[in-house]
């Protein structure tokens, strides 16, 4: 009996978590000027609006550009650092790991203010490369967490075997360790990409006139409420869900292939 009640409660809670996102789909398909539920008439009007309006398209393209840039920076920097942290033995390893992961938990508004102050001094406001590096800081924790945990569970005898068979340390790393890390790096780069793609607060502070997709959504929400945002949000949800499912698939496949 208790179990049954608990089950009912569980179902309600899952609905509470998931349903608001699902309900966005019919709302975005309205043909009317206003957000309404249920929509009186279905149409793709607001999806068309999204792709016709240059400000939406440009914001999306900028977000992709910044996201890809930040992901590449975070991936290279994070993977190198993970190798050093897991394999090396130097004082302050744990502290360094904690600092690299810190942007994940430190309130973003603090970092936004901090970057805003130095960017103004350096005249970095309104610059795409600066935004890429700022986003890389936020994306870095995902790479460090996932790649260093994959490295920790890697059986180093494989690499030593390659060394015994005559490969140099660099070659052993590239032909044995890197293929093992590949899926984790891929999964972490997807997470890193979304960390940048969804980033709002830092961008609001330091981007000047640049509009990424979240900033474009934000300005729309603060000023008015038309269903283009609903259409944009639906597409973002689909992209996030598919992207994360792919990341999870690769991570699990690696766990299965090499054991955990």
């Amino acid at each position: 009996m208790t179990r049954f009640l608990l089950g009912v409660y569980f179902a309600i809670a899952v609905a509470f978590l998931v349903l608001p996102l699902v309900l966005l789909v019919p709302i975005s398909l309205t043909s009317s000027q206003f957000l309404e539920f249920p929509p009186k008439e279905l149409s793709l009007r607001w999806y068309r609006e999204f792709f016709v309006d240059a400000s939406w398209v440009n914001a999306t393209l900028l977000s992709f550009k910044v996201g890809v840039g930040a992901t590449l920076v975070a991936l290279v920097v994070g993977t190198l650092a993970s190798v050093a942290i897991v394999r090396g033995s130097f004082p302050g390893r744990r502290l360094l790991h904690a600092i690299l992961v810190a942007p994940l938990i430190i309130p973003t508004v603090i970092l936004a203010l901090a970057l805003f102050i130095v960017f103004l001094r350096w005249k970095w406001v309104d610059s795409v490369p600066a935004l890429i590096f700022a986003h890389a800081v936020v994306a870095l924790p995902y790479v460090v967490l996932i790649v260093s945990s994959a490295l920790r569970s890697f059986d180093t005898t494989l690499e030593r075997a390659a060394r015994v068979l005559g490969a140099g340390p660099v070659r052993a790393f590239f032909s044995v360790t890197l293929p093992y890390l590949g899926p984790s790096m891929f999964a972490s780069s997807l997470l890193a990409f979304f960390a940048s793609f969804d980033e709002l607060i830092i961008t609001l502070f330091v981007s000047g006139g640049l509009q990424t997709l979240p900033v474009r959504i934000w300005t729309d929400l603060v000023l008015r409420l038309d269903p283009t945002v609903a259409a944009a949000a639906c597409m973002l949800i689909v992209v996030s869900v598919v992207g994360m499912a792919v990341a999870e698939y690769f991570r699990q496949r690696n766990v299965r292939r090499y054991g955990s």
Binding site: P20, A84, L96, P107, L140, I201, P214
Partner: protein, 276 residues
């Protein structure tokens, strides 16, 4: 060999140290400097912080909100995690996926869905009027209620997952042993299961509390002017009153609170949880 080792290490760590040093640690020091020097050392902005009634109200409100949201998430999340931990493996994977799903979507979008649902013509108001519970639309947007509701929905998965992670580690044999030895189901739960799962719940609560303290988007969009939180006040001081020193002092308070809570987290959470 040793020199080569340190050269390799510098090569591996150099980029990370440069990136995080230049764009994370150095700017944080900048905030500290901004709040304490102008240009000589001064405690002016902290004095202002202590004396400002607005700052006091906002800090208190933020603290109370974070506490309420955390308490709600724990009370709601613990039984959910328990149910999840005790169901069959296949269903568990499916529901874990469902619970993780909203977690992957940005806070901006998840807040937006509540703007749509809670608006005057939104689904909730239409349902309330359709069922005859209310005559006219109820004001839900731009209230504390909306902020609480959305924040619980956004943060609940985190608490569920941390509770769940510590619960699946518990050997079910132990509870069974307690039952065999004559404990009632409730007593077996209270004396065996609960004490073993409380560490994970505490860790989840702390993470939830830290994240709540820094919430910016949800209070701004759902709370309106009367529900401004600390993060929004920092933004306001930067962009509206242009008082960066005061904003920096506020940010330092938020940072200090976060660091204290992280220290607490390390005390309650098992080591491996922090280091993967």
């Amino acid at each position: 060999m040793s020199r080569r080792r340190s050269f390799q290490l510098a090569l591996l760590l150099g980029p990370a140290v440069a990136l995080v040093g230049l764009l994370f640690l150095f700017p944080l020091f900048g905030v500290m400097k901004q709040s304490l020097f102008s240009p000589g050392f001064t405690l002016e902005s902290f004095a202002k912080l202590v004396n400002s009634p607005v700052a006091a109200i906002v800090m208190r409100r933020t603290f109370v909100l974070a506490l309420t949201v955390t308490a709600l998430c724990c009370v709601l999340g613990y039984p959910l995690a328990y149910f999840l931990a005790t169901m069959s493996k296949r269903w568990r994977a499916f529901f874990l996926y469902l619970i993780l799903l909203p977690f992957w979507i940005s806070v901006l979008i998840r807040t937006y869905t509540w703007m749509v649902l809670l608006g005057r013509e939104g689904l909730v108001n239409n349902a309330l009027m359709g069922l005859g519970i209310t005559d006219g639309p109820v004001q839900m947007l731009f209230t504390g209620f909306a902020v609480h509701l959305a924040m619980v929905q956004i943060l609940l998965p985190i608490v569920i997952l941390t509770c769940f992670a510590s619960m699946v580690e518990i050997d079910p044999q132990l509870v069974r042993a307690a039952r065999t030895l004559g404990a009632t189901p409730f007593k077996a739960f209270a004396r065996v299961f609960f004490p073993m799962s409380i560490g994970g719940a505490a860790a989840g609560a702390i993470i939830c509390f830290i994240l709540s303290l820094g919430f910016y988007v949800t209070p701004a969009l759902l709370g309106g002017r009367r529900n401004i939180m600390l993060a929004n006040l920092i933004d306001f001081e930067v962009h509206q009153t242009l008082n960066w020193s005061f904003a920096s002092a506020l940010a330092l308070v938020l940072l200090a609170a976060t660091l204290v809570l992280l220290g607490l987290f390390r005390l309650v959470a098992p080591e491996r949880r922090l280091h993967g």
